[in-house]
Symmetry: C6
């Protein structure tokens, strides 16, 4: 079992994430997907489990700056070889073929990124891996069926890495359960960070939608992003 | 009549599933479709009815690992020839034709998988068959009308196998009855596993949407995934 | 006037269906469209009115098996020439042209089926005809406008048969009146079998949406599928 | 001012329809669009105003048969030259060009029908004209923008006929005001016949959405189809 | 500041419309867009401000006839050179190119209409201009992005005319704020005339959605179309 | 930290905007996006921080005129080199290639605008930059995936400017959280200005959806557009 590092989450999933599995973290803008990801990696680093973080959208220097408030010694972990941060935010949108809008381009991009990740995981001996966000890898595909096929192959490839992997994914609306995506079916676990407007109040909840092989709490709980990271509250009901 | 193995379900369908029929099990991520499928096969194995399980999406080793918590002696059943587990998760996304996006590819895939299943059913003398999920077989088809035609032919072929067949299918949203799919019309029975948010509570229910030739309970009931598998509650109303 | 055979329905339509007209029966999976159809035919057979049933989706042997519970002497009626059951479930999806996805194929299919039906109606001297479901005949057409044109021609052809015809049609969602289809405008009568979720209860109602030339009850009533067929309740309101 | 013939409607529109204008009657299946149309024509015939009815969808013999219950002496009016009924239900779906799916076909159809109507209106000296339903004339057009252009030209042509014209149009759903169509903008008046489900009751209302140049009642009222035709109730609120 | 002529509207926008600006008036069928437009022009004529009205959809003779009930002396104003009414309802749908469905046609139409308007505004010395409805000018464009581009250029051209301009636009549904259109962003002011069904009552409200450079009442108010034109009520809340 | 200039907003984001970051301001028509933008620039000018404003939709002379009511000395700031206003509303819709509907055109437009902005930011030594609205730059792209790719590249380029940047974006409906757009994910902060109809009242709220690296108030608050600009109210709940 792999401790998640998120305060209050391990209790929800019976002690931690299953080892060598792929966990999806889905949420809207500002939900805290990147904070979640780093809590997971810092938790590992503290336990001397190497972690690799790959950003596919936001530049790494901005991410580092954004995370300063949490007081994590990311550079210290990096120096000690416990954490490696790779910035592929530029590669993702680079045209690999003359016509960047065609499928060949999408294919080459995925091949390139997977190759890079595989190599880094091996060099580092990574036990924890985060890809943030996974949806950037299929941005070139216009048809949902094609996106689906690519995500399937991608996840199959990630399974061979022998890491516990977090992939993040962007919600398309405030309405939970409006649409399911293939990531939610293919990942071994799915954690949903929701914001919902109830009248004119925003209510933030975390829901463990699934967690293969583990009995888990299947009810949503409130959470906040404190200066120590995401904290989940169990002592009170979501609404009273 | 074929006992389903799901605690509380046989009472809902008048004693069990109709023999040699095709039962659809539909549900969202984490609803328990695979657990349902194995409860059905294990129940058979205990009664010395051979069962065949075909995975089209999740790798078999992960499924086995996920099911450990339930304490089923799958390997024992396999050794005694009462259970066979086939992993076609790789085949499904393999391109059979140079352009894997065209219809010919979809056609060859279905022909291949059906041939394989037919052979295995015969070799094993299987009485119970699970295909998990059926939707993977039509993933290459972009148009709903084409998906529909393929599913129709598929189900026609499965009818010739002389097994009781469970096919699983993925829900597209939390909203029950938002859209019906051809599987729900073509299968002989349909069991719907739903998760719904009522305010900020998740409520899980099982509904027998249809069961040809059998009078059945047509109301939803709550269920849980316990460490013995899916358990349906009859003693209390869904909401109070 | 033609008695429908459905318990409680004749009262709703002023005594029975209008003669030589086309009645649409629409419903979701498990709503009872096929049971409705056979109640209509059995009622006729009892009155020595010949009936023809054409299945376009479910194989006939399964239908017969499903209907056993109702105790109707279908074989007896068949022997006495009062009932004929035709299985065209295989023809419907057969490619008539090299490219089964084109319009020519759809056209040939409809021509073939209509020719077959016409001949059988004449041979049998049928007074009652059921086509179950009508939507299978336009499954090859991708565009709604084309589906519409075909259904229009189909219904025009059925008008020449001098039978009272039931055509069944599949609902696309639990939400009644979400979309109207051309069948509802073109048929002379329309009976809607609905399932709706009210909180976590399924409520089944029958609504006579229209019945040309007859004053009819325009309110929904609850119904059940008993071991004698569909029974409509008039003595109580739908919800209390 | 032209009296509508619908019981209770003239009071809603300040005495009757404006002369030589185009009135849209929209409604779902079974709403009573054809009954409305004939009440309008019979009212005229009684006042010695010639009326022309053109059916584009339902065969005339069926319409006549359906209207028998209302006891109108349609044949008497026809004999006295006060009413003419034209059946173009066959023409509408006839291919005018080799490929009936193209725009040329739609164009030729409209030209043909308009020519026919113009000639009949002149021969009869018609003061009242009904086209039922107008939407059949644009059934061949796949794109909404093209449908719109055709309807615009059609209505422009009808304006030259110096008749009071009723055009009927099919609602696409039970939800009133979900979508507006060009007919509602282009017609001089619009009368909406709605069926709505309120819990499990069907409530039928008539709403005068607009009536150019006339002050009109802008609230919905309940109506029924009695054996004298459509009757609108003013004495009670829609819901209590 | 330009007085609007609508009873109760100037109070909502701090005294009147801003000079030489473009005001959008959006509403459904029967909402009173044309009445609004003429109140605006008549108000100007009374103050000796020349006004130009361009109809792009409804023929001018019908509009004049429809407005008779309001008792405005349109002909008197016309004779005195204070009002000019141009009927371009025929031009709009005329094919300018052999294939009227292509973009070139749309382009030529806009060029023609703008040229005409510019010339008439100059000849008349118009201070007030109404184009009713603006959406007719982009009817030939099938893609929303193209419609948007044309509307942008159109509004840019109108800005050079040194008039206060009202453009009308058709709502697509009863649901306010369901979709915003480019006109609402590009116009300097936007007045929304809404009809909404609340249970079975129609409630008509006017909302000033924006009015550049002016503080304005941002709440909806009820209105009626009286025999003097549109009257807005301020003394009571919309619902009680 | 950069003070926003909006009354009551700095308290919501822990003191001000993060430096050198990109903040999205989204809102419907009349929500106050441009007022927000100028409050931000005027605040800067007062503190001797140079600001650059680029309009891509509304002509600059109209904007200036609209802002007069707020009494800001824009010209004074311009003369002192503290503010520069660039009007690119004409360039945006200019065809750069013969066929302005193709991708090449969109590409050239973005390259041109970015080049212009970069140069002006450098010449002015701008610390604050506003692009109003960002969506105009991708108006030529028809497919959402292409829009997304362009926005990603655009934001990447803006990151190199070493300014605090506000980009504005148009809401597509009154329903908050109905759809998320790529801008909301890519920007470092997102401020949402909403109008919502609650029964028949318009309620305007501001919500800080995200603000990278800063703890922020995550609840909506009411705001008004006063004669000093946007004012946010903290002392009362949104609804009582």
């Amino acid at each position: 079992m792999i401790s998640s590092g998120i305060f209050g989450l391990d209790e929800m999933v019976g002690g931690g994430f299953p080892e060598n599995r792929i966990i999806l973290v889905r949420g809207g803008p500002g939900a805290g997907k990147t904070v979640f990801s780093f809590q997971f990696l810092v938790e590992g680093a503290k336990k001397r489990e190497q972690g690799l973080y790959v950003t596919l959208e936001e530049p790494m220097n901005l991410i580092k700056s954004n995370l300063k408030a949490f007081g994590w010694d990311l550079e210290g972990f990096e120096k000690r070889g416990l954490l490696k941060l790779i910035d592929e935010s530029g590669q993702v949108y680079k045209p690999f073929t003359p016509n960047r809008y065609d499928r060949g381009n999408a294919k080459l991009l995925i091949t390139y990124i997977l190759g890079k990740i595989k190599q880094e995981v091996e060099n580092l001996g990574a036990k924890r891996l985060v890809i943030d966000p996974i949806t950037s890898l299929v941005i070139h595909q216009r048809f949902p069926t094609d996106k689906r096929l690519e995500i399937i192959e991608l996840i199959k490839a990630l399974r061979n890495l022998r890491c516990t992997v977090i992939i993040t994914s962007e919600a398309t609306s405030y309405i939970p359960g409006k649409d399911f995506f293939v990531e939610e079916y293919l990942a071994d676990g799915a954690v949903i960070l929701s914001k919902r407007l109830r009248d004119f109040n925003v209510i933030k909840t975390v829901l463990v939608e699934k967690m293969r092989g583990l009995k888990h709490d299947d009810q949503p709980h409130r959470y906040e992003i404190s200066d120590k990271g995401i904290v989940i509250y169990h002592t009170e009901p979501v609404i009273t």
